[in-house]
Symmetry: C2
Subunit: 124 residues, 2 copies
DNA sequence: ATAACGTTTAGAGTTAGCTCTAAGTCAAGA
DNA sequence: TCTTGACTTAGAGCTAACTCTAAACGTTAT
């Protein structure tokens, strides 16, 4: 698969795919003889994984660390697990904060309904 | 209340409080005769509200718009409600995405547990 | 074989959201 | 009154995460 096909498939700009690879969020992608990227299924899986993690707000730096550990093999299993646990906790806390804000938004919206009804009454 | 007391109370740097005010996320704060900020309870409520919304990821621009509408009075009730509805939908979608990622992280963590057990067995 | 279009790189530019600096003003204690 | 420390402003600087540019090279259709 070419970079533009992968870009299409995952809805990520080609520039971003190159940036992720250069930054080490994705292991080096396979290439044709002439040096053009030729994404293998395994490369696509990395793209999809990183897209998912980025969409939840995991930082570039954290994902770099994860991939760096991954590429060092089995001796980094514990470290990778610790990294994932830390990110999970962060994510859980963030979701909780967002749910609190969501409730508050809903409450505010209800109040707006009341206010609007009240104001329209006054028009007559 | 002085700016440093408000900074303490809400855990936001004084620079950030000034920035929010200058950017219009918070209506102009009350001042002493000599021009020093003297936060009234109503100013504090704005700070707390903006802090909550920012923590859930609402953008500076969106909050500027909301405050601008607010300061124009009752004729903007509908517009403000529409803005809140849009943000609520955005927030709900984001929470959903994060929950998906959370599940995936938990799944991955389980797999790491298995892998670690397997690797440690091989050490003997 | 040449036009047209896709891909490559290094590196510059952009945006959001702060964060810091400098130079000055104000308020309280010795 | 002088010093110390908090406050003020405008504006520069910073970081994360892209996004774009330029110049060169590859591929495909006519």
């Amino acid at each position: 698969m070419t970079i533009s096909q992968v870009s299409q498939k995952y809805g990520l700009p080609a520039d971003t795919l190159r940036y992720y690879e250069k930054a080490g969020l994705i292991p080096p992608v396979h290439r044709t003889e002439s040096g053009i990227r030729d994404y293998q299924p395994e490369d696509c899986n990395w793209v999809e994984f990183i897209k998912c993690m980025r969409s939840a707000g995991l930082s570039i730096e954290t994902l770099q660390k994860y991939v760096t550990l991954f590429r060092k093999g089995n001796k980094t299993l514990q470290a990778r697990k610790a990294l994932l646990l830390a990110e999970r906790d962060r994510l859980q806390a963030q979701i909780k904060a967002m749910q609190t804000t969501l409730k508050r938004l809903n409450y505010k919206i209800d109040i707006y309904d009341d206010k609007i009804v009240h104001c329209e009454k006054n028009l007559h």
